[in-house]
Symmetry: C2
Subunit: 348 residues, 2 copies
């Protein structure tokens, strides 16, 4: 994968071969549909300083990029870090990207099409700047500093409004031929299943992401099934979300419990299919829906054990993510090391 | 992945850094449940000499290994190649393997459990000897010398009695944490589908491999549906196989056609799921069932286009394999180069 040649050279010239010397700190940006996070991160993956602001989607690409610049300026200024201490900037961007050209090809949440993201930020700060998909950034963070430390072959799933994944093989992030690897959310699990936003039918995302969980709860209530969930949302079914269903299931509500079990079944099938193909040592489960914890993970593991081949199932532990919402911004910062050819935290 | 350290050292000491010098020829062995193939192969993937013999499964591991040794001796003797011209031996073994220990862990077709394969052959010929899974060998051959030349990210499927695959990412074969990557045959496509030999339900293999295709033809005949297939097998439905169904479909038999289309639907879903995860440039289709050619490939491509995400579908061409049954033995030979750190045919 090509990276910005000039920028890399500029930095590597001033650095020793296997370290970033004086320039040992990293800036990371996690751009989401609702918020932007920016942070100063050290090479052990610790956040030293951070700022967060709402994403001004209505301001368009220029406005959002100006917002990123402002947040980064604040982080730099508050932390008192100098340019010489900084190795570079990493950007985690949702949707389709072309990292060699620094472009966001398509980001439905931001309404972006072919937006140049890297160059304006690189120019502004005169620091090597890299980008990657937000889920891949989270995967890098969990692999280097979180639940995947020391593991060379792993999958990291984020289960929230959508379902995405990052894949690491032999210690290397897998990006794919056009940087689109990892789309487990659009794995067909039921060929005649519910229609997904992508146009396909029976995608994992349409069966097991947050909105599918909320939809099943609403449907149960509409059918008149008795459940504590209705009271939990003050009698307003449109306020139901995966968090409410999870909470109800924890309280022992059988309807909510069944909905979580069904999501776990679909997720378990998707994970079993995935580990049959890439045979990882670890499957890390993160994202909002994953906050259900063992409630979701225990039945998921059972399904993986039933559905995956013996060796693959025995090899792959299924564990919760460790870095929570920070994974995105830490991973974006870590991207600087990854793209400059650092081998990860062990090289520090 | 660890390789036999001593053997590698022995060879690399006598070789220039990026070539195998005088020792430029390779021996490959493709061990199958019915036949063993052995061949002398050059670094352009051409078979210079070959021998084939039935697999004496009843003779047990020692008998089969003795058979491999005999075939290799014949190939060496007939071709007049000297030991100094040989870089090493590669073995393609079906089932589960542990290449670092030279073991066949489990091979259902051979009735093998924990059989030491590499050491006796290495000792016999005093040549560096390597092993890999047979499907991965075929993938290496197609990637380096067949349909995948010049492509860094590809999947190679073999569709026959079973369905297996090999995966290459950024020019490297993916083996997985325990050398079990690539098991697309046991991807759950229908969670309540027919029972598979592996114990799971609705595996791709149980829905679309040769036996599933033959079974559907038999079921149609048992139901009394009119089809030319019955006459083609002389009125004996137990003689039906995927080749007969393919031939009947080519002749325009609508029952056979529908059966092939259904297999293509399941295979297309499996491939779409796979390319969503690893985003390859190429999907190579080989194996006995794939001899149906465009009859199978055309509807399969249509399904991939419908089911995979846009970018992944647009990036991955679906093409037939080029090396046919030779892929296994050529790939086993190529394994010697791969394991000695040669980069592939471009390095020759």
């Amino acid at each position: 994968m090509a990276v910005n040649g000039t920028a890399v050279r500029a930095v590597t010239e001033q650095l020793p071969v296997r370290g970033v010397g004086q320039a040992s700190l990293l800036l990371g940006v996690d751009l989401g549909g609702s918020h932007i996070s920016a942070a100063l991160v050290d090479q052990a993956g610790r956040i030293l300083q951070r700022r967060k602001a709402p994403t001004a989607v209505e301001a368009g690409p220029d406005g959002i990029i100006a917002g990123i610049v402002e947040l980064l300026r604040e982080v730099i200024s508050v932390s008192g870090v100098t340019r010489r201490e900084l190795a570079g900037i990493g950007l985690g961007i949702p949707g389709l990207i072309d990292s060699s050209r620094g472009l966001s090809i398509f980001s439905p949440n931001l309404f972006w099409h072919n937006v140049q993201v890297v160059r304006p930020i690189e120019r502004e700060f005169n620091l090597p700047t890299f980008m990657d998909n937000d889920v891949r950034c989270a995967t890098l963070a969990e692999a280097w500093y979180g639940a995947g430390r020391g593991v060379a072959n792993l999958i990291c799933l984020t289960i929230g409004t959508g379902i995405g994944s990052g894949l690491m093989i032999d210690g290397q992030l897998v990006r794919g031929a056009t940087e689109s690897a990892g789309e487990i959310g659009h794995m067909t699990i039921e060929k005649d299943g519910p229609r997904c936003n992508c146009g396909n039918h029976g995608c994992l995302e349409a069966l097991a992401a947050g909105p599918a969980i909320a939809r099943r709860a609403r449907e149960a209530i509409e059918k008149g099934v008795e459940t504590v969930m209705l009271a939990m949302v003050g009698g307003q079914p449109d306020r139901l979300d995966a968090a409410v269903v999870t909470q109800a299931a924890r309280q022992g509500d059988p309807v909510a419990w069944e909905i979580i079990e069904l999501a776990a079944l679909y997720l378990g099938i998707g994970i079993a299919n995935y580990i049959n193909l890439v045979n990882p040592e670890l499957v890390i489960i993160g994202g909002g829906v994953a906050q259900a914890g063992e409630l979701l993970l225990a039945p998921m593991r059972r399904v993986v054990g039933q559905r995956a081949m013996k060796v693959q199932a025995a090899t792959a532990r299924v564990v919760p993510a460790r870095l929570g919402e920070d994974a995105g911004v830490i991973g974006a910062a870590a991207l600087v090391l990854e793209r400059l050819g650092e081998a990860g935290p062990s090289a520090v």
